[in-house]
Amino acid sequence: MKIILATFCLWVAAAVSVWAMPLSYALDAGESRVGFEVPFGPDQITGTMPVRSADIALDFAQPSNSRISVVLDVGNAQANFPFATQALRGPRVLDAAAFPDITFVSNSIEVQRDAPSKARLGGDITIRGVTRPIVLDVELFRPAGRAPGERELLFVRLEGAVSRAAFGATGWDDLVGDEVSLDLMLRIDLEE
């Protein structure tokens, strides 16, 4: 992400907001992606996956009313070398042919007291058709230079980790580690 980001105390700013309803946002898919990283011997395999769609509604007055769900495009996942890309999409890891989507659906949100732009987002993630609970760290940003309080264009960063074994995505587990860290950056625009 080449954009300079500035954190912004959105959840707190919301306390004085006139909005009483969650605000719906549209995903800018072209500017959103998930980065992932997994240990590979002494190194890391890194890569990205496009975000197919997202359903995002943020309630700044009542954060617990917010919801974030994301669908990732497994078939276009890309790793930092060709064999890893092929292995990742193939039947022993994500099996994109049978399971083209990874989905995340939030079901709880807990704003951090000391850092109001940050929250813990609980939800369910489905990989290879297996659904497991997950907790992601979420942080909201607005592009640098935007006036405080502006909510038209935001970035949502989600971070977490999954165990490959928990989803049966165990291919090459003799060479590649189990824990995959995820780092999603979504660019969202307020819907009228």
Binding site: F40, G41, P42, D43, I45
Partner: protein
């Protein structure tokens, strides 16, 4: 010295094939053992590609060698005077042909069964010879493992025989006569 073998001499084609494959097989035995035991990472994963590519080249050289032997048959081994030694030498030669088919073929089958492309020098994608299956992969690499150990044993016997006999056998594979 001609390309073809005669009744009393090895032509350069047979000798070139012999020494190219000797070098290749020796190197690949060591290299294969190394890559199978190293900690795989970004810096060395390319070595698998090199191993597979050289292995396929050796497989092709073997095919060429068999064809060439129909075109230009090889001469009879020199008798050592000891019957069991002559039989042992002949069996080691036969075993080489069998193992030099089984070893690369099992490597190719096992590699294809992983579901990853088998690439020749990062350019040509070879067709997989087996379905994507862990059973095929494990079986093929078990064969690759055992066959490479037998191949190493044959190499030791073959070199020992060639060096120990002082009747010009080694010399005519080097110089032709």
């Amino acid at each position: 010295m001609g390309a073809r073998n005669t009744d009393v001499s090895f032509g350069w084609v047979t000798r070139a094939l012999h020494w190219a494959m000797a070098l290749g097989v020796l190197a690949m035995l060591g290299f294969g053992s190394y890559i199978a035991r190293m900690e795989v990472g970004m810096s060395n994963i390319w070595m698998f590609g090199v191993h597979k590519s050289i292995g396929i080249v050796l497989f092709a050289l073997l095919a060429l060698r068999i064809v060439w032997h129909f075109v230009s048959p090889v001469l009879e081994s020199l008798p050592s005077g000891v019957a069991w030694k002559d039989r042992a030498a002949a069996w080691v030669h036969r075993a080489f042909y069998v193992l030099l088919i089984v070893v690369p073929l099992s490597g190719w089958i096992g590699s294809g069964a992983t579901g990853l492309d088998v690439l020749l020098f990062n350019r040509v994608t070879l067709p997989p010879l087996a379905p994507v299956s862990e059973t095929w992969e494990e079986a093929a690499f078990a064969v690759h493992f055992v066959a490479t150990k037998l191949l190493a044993l044959c190499v030791v016997l073959h070199i020992a025989g060639a060096v120990m006999r002082k009747d010009g056998t080694l010399g005519r594979m080097v110089r032709g006569v």
